[in-house]
Symmetry: C2
Subunit: 126 residues, 2 copies
DNA sequence: TTACCACCTAGAGTGTACTCCAAGTCAATA
DNA sequence: TATTGACTTGGAGTACACTCTAGGTGGTAA
């Protein structure tokens, strides 16, 4: 797969794909004889994984660390698992915090509903 | 309340508090005779509200808009409610997306658990 | 009355995460 | 064989959200 195809498929700009590879957020992609990136299925998986994790708010730093552990081989499995558990914990607490904010927002909206209803009752024609 | 107290109370730097006021993310705070900010209870509420909403990922742009509608008075209630509902929707879908990523992460962690268990069984001493 | 400290403002600087650019390569087409 | 277009690289530029700085004011304590 070319970079153009991957870019379209995952809606990530070519520049960002190259940038992610440059900083190690995804492993280095194989080039063909003329130096052009040829994304394998696994490369695509990495692109997708990084996209998900990044948009969920995982730090670039942690993801780079994870990629490099994977590349070091099976000896790092324990460490990788630990890293993922740590990130999972962070993500979970972010979600909980956001859920609490959502609830506040719901409360606020409900209060607007009430107040607007009152205004309506006072001026039934307006 | 002085800016130092508010800064401590909500764990937001004084610079950021001044910045938020400057860009209209919170309404202008009253100054005393010598020009020093004196945060009222309501100001503190705004600081807290902005902090919550910002850390949940609401855009600065939307929050500035909300603040300015509140300052325009009761005539904007309908519009404010609409804005909050819109932001609520965005927040909800972000939470759902993050929840999906959390689930993926759980699956990944579970697979590491399995693989590590297998390795252990193969080398029960190691 | 001078030293100090917390505060003020406007504007410049910074870090992160991209995003763009210049100069060049390669394969395919006119 | 000349042009086109998608790609390459390294490095420069940008946007956002702060964060810091310089120069100044006002109130308090030695």
């Amino acid at each position: 797969m070319t970079i153009a195809e991957v870019s379209r498929k995952y809606d990530i700009s070519q520049d960002t794909l190259r940038y992610y590879e440059r900083i190690g957020l995804i492993p280095r992609v194989r080039r063909n004889k003329s130096g052009i990136r040829d994304y394998s299925e696994e490369d695509c998986y990495w692109v997708y994984f990084s996209k998900c994790m990044r948009s969920a708010g995982l730090s670039i730093e942690a993801l780079i660390e994870y990629v490099s552990l994977v590349q070091e081989g099976d000896g790092t499995m324990q460490e990788r698992k630990k890293l993922l558990i740590e990130q999972r914990k962070l993500l979970k607490s972010r979600i909980e915090e956001m859920q609490a904010t959502l609830d506040r927002l719901d409360g606020k909206i409900a209060r607007y509903e009430e107040r607007l209803l009152k205004v309506e009752q006072q001026c039934p024609v307006g």
